[in-house]
C-alpha cells in the first residue's frame, strides 16, 4: 500500500487496539495484511511497544506493577477453547500443597495485616472478557445473559448477584462458576473475595475446560485476599502445570510473593 494513502498510521486507537489484542479476527487480519506493506504503521507500532516497555519498567520500579504480567484477550480465550485436551481423571482434587512447594507462612493471616505488596498480588487489573463459547450445545440458564451483560459493563456486583441466583437453581456449570468467581473477586470487600474461592475451586476441580488454568490463577488471588499465602502459592504451582498461557504469570506471582515475604 502506498504510504501516503495510509490512514491507519494516523489512527493510534487502531494500532493500540491491535497491540493490546482488542481487535476481532477479521479486523486483526486486515490490519496485519496492511502492516506487512506499510512502514509508517510499523513505526507507530514500535513506538507503542516502546511506551509499553518503559511504562511497565516505571510501574515495576515504583512497585505499582499490574498484578497480571500478561493480558488476556478474547482471541486467546477462543484459541484456548479450540485446544481443549480432555484428560481422563484430571479432575483430582489437590487440596494440600503439592510436594516440593515451599511453605511460606501458616495460613490465616488477617488480610488487613498483610503488606500492600502482598495484597497487590490479589489484584485483577484486567478481568477476562466474556465471549459466548458454545461448548455445551444447550441454552444458557435464564438470567445468565443478563448477568454477563452486567459483567461486560464492569458492574461486577450485579453480575455476581445474578450468577449467584442462577447457581442456586441450576445444574453445575463451569462457565457460570468461573464468571461468578471472577465477579466476586472484582467486587469490593474481602467477604466477596473469600466467597470467590468456592466457585473458582469448583472450576479447577471440574477438570479440563477453557477456564481451568485461569480459574486456578484467580483462585490463588482469592486465597491471598483471605490471607492464606501457602495455599495461594500451592495453587499457583498448580496453575503452572495446567494447559494454557498463564504459567509464566503464575510463576511471576510466586516470585513476587517470595520477594514480598523476603524469602
Amino acid at each position: 500500500m502506498n504510504e501516503m494513502a495510509c490512514a491507519a498510521a494516523d489512527d493510534p486507537d487502531l494500532i493500540e487496539a491491535y497491540l493490546l489484542g482488542d481487535l476481532d479476527e477479521p479486523a486483526r487480519e486486515t490490519f496485519e495484511t496492511h502492516l506487512f506493506t506499510c512502514d509508517r504503521c510499523l513505526t507507530q507500532l514500535k513506538l507503542l511497544e516502546s511506551l509499553q516497555i518503559e511504562l511497565r519498567k516505571d510501574a515495576q520500579a515504583s512497585g505499582a506493577a499490574p498484578a497480571t504480567g500478561t493480558r488476556s484477550s478474547w482471541w486467546v480465550w477462543a484459541a484456548a477453547a479450540a485446544t481443549i485436551v480432555m484428560v481422563v481423571g484430571a479432575g483430582t482434587l489437590l487440596r494440600a500443597p503439592a510436594p516440593g512447594v515451599p511453605v511460606l507462612q501458616a495460613p490465616g493471616a488477617a488480610p488487613a495485616a498483610m503488606a500492600p505488596a502482598i495484597l497487590a498480588l490479589a489484584r485483577v487489573v484486567d478481568p477476562p472478557k466474556y465471549v459466548a463459547l458454545d461448548l455445551r450445545g444447550d441454552e444458557p440458564a435464564p438470567g445468565f445473559a443478563a448477568a454477563m451483560r452486567a459483567y461486560s459493563t464492569g458492574d461486577y456486583t450485579t453480575a455476581a448477584n445474578g450468577l449467584r441466583r442462577i447457581r442456586g437453581s441450576g445444574p453445575p456449570d463451569v462457565e457460570r462458576d468461573f464468571f461468578l468467581g471472577v465477579s466476586l473477586l472484582m467486587s469490593n470487600g474481602d467477604a466477596a473475595a473469600a466467597e470467590a474461592i468456592e466457585p473458582l475451586r469448583r472450576v479447577v476441580d471440574h477438570g479440563d475446560s477453557p477456564y481451568r488454568q485461569l480459574a486456578s490463577l484467580y483462585l490463588g488471588k482469592a486465597l491471598i485476599r483471605r490471607g492464606d499465602l501457602d495455599a495461594a502459592n500451592a495453587e499457583w504451582e498448580r496453575t503452572r502445570t495446567l494447559p494454557g498461557t498463564h504459567a509464566g504469570e503464575a510463576q511471576d506471582l510466586q516470585k513476587a510473593l517470595r520477594t514480598a515475604l523476603g524469602r
Partner: protein
C-alpha cells in the same frame, strides 16, 4: 537497522538474490520483516519471548524456502512472510497445553524486547523514556492504565474520577507528544 519495505518489484529482486545466495539480501529481508513478524506474534500471543522465537523461526522458514526457490510469485514476498508467520503462530496454538511456557513476560532483556536491531530498539526506548519524563503525571498514569493494564477509557475515567472524553483526549495528546518528541530527536 531501519525497516524499509521493498516495493513489489524489489521484493521479487530480493527473493531472487536470496535464491542466488546473496547474504546482503538475507540481511535486507530480516530488516524488512523480522520486526513485523515479531510484533504480530506479540499482539497475538502476549509473550515477548515466544514472539521472538516465532519471528526467528518464521524468518528461518522463509529463508530456506527462498534459497530453494520455492516462492513462485516473488513479488508477493510480503504476503508469503505473513502467511508463514501465521502458520508458525497456529502451530504454537495447536500445541498449546502440551508445551506450557515457563518464562514470563519480561521487559528486562537486552534491547528491551529483542527487536531485529536491539540497538535501535534500545535507543527508541531511551527516547520514549525521555518523552515520558516531559508528560504530566496524570498523562503518564493514563498511558500506564491503557498500554500496560489494558483498561478502556471508561474504566480509567472511573478510576481517576475523570470523564471518558478527558481520558481519551489526554491519552491521544500524550501519545502524540511522545511521537513528536521521538521524531524530533530522530531528525537531529
Amino acid at each position: 537497522m531501519s525497516s524499509v519495505l521493498p516495493v513489489p518489484d524489489d521484493q521479487a529482486d530480493l527473493a531472487d538474490r536470496i535464491r542466488l545466495g546473496d547474504r546482503g539480501a538475507e540481511d535486507a529481508l530480516a530488516a524488512a520483516f523480522h520486526d513485523r513478524v515479531r510484533l504480530m506474534a506479540l499482539a497475538r500471543t502476549r509473550d515477548r519471548e515466544l514472539a521472538l522465537d516465532i519471528a526467528q523461526e518464521t524468518m528461518a522458514d522463509v529463508l530456506v524456502a527462498l534459497r530453494e526457490g520455492r516462492l513462485r510469485e516473488q513479488e508477493k514476498l510480503a504476503g508469503f512472510v505473513y502467511g508463514t508467520a501465521r502458520n508458525r503462530i497456529s502451530d504454537h496454538y495447536r500445541t498449546l497445553g502440551r508445551r506450557p511456557r515457563e518464562e514470563p513476560l519480561d521487559d528486562e532483556h537486552p534491547g528491551g524486547g529483542a527487536s531485529n536491531d536491539p540497538l535501535e530498539q534500545a535507543e527508541r526506548n531511551a527516547q520514549v523514556r525521555g518523552a515520558l519524563g516531559t508528560l504530566p503525571a496524570m498523562d503518564r498514569r493514563i498511558l500506564l492504565l491503557t498500554l500496560v493494564d489494558g483498561l478502556k477509557p471508561g474504566a480509567i475515567a472511573r478510576r481517576l474520577s475523570l470523564s471518558d472524553e478527558v481520558v481519551r483526549a489526554r491519552k491521544s495528546r500524550a501519545i502524540r507528544k511522545v511521537k513528536e518528541y521521538v521524531d524530533g530527536l530522530s531528525r537531529t
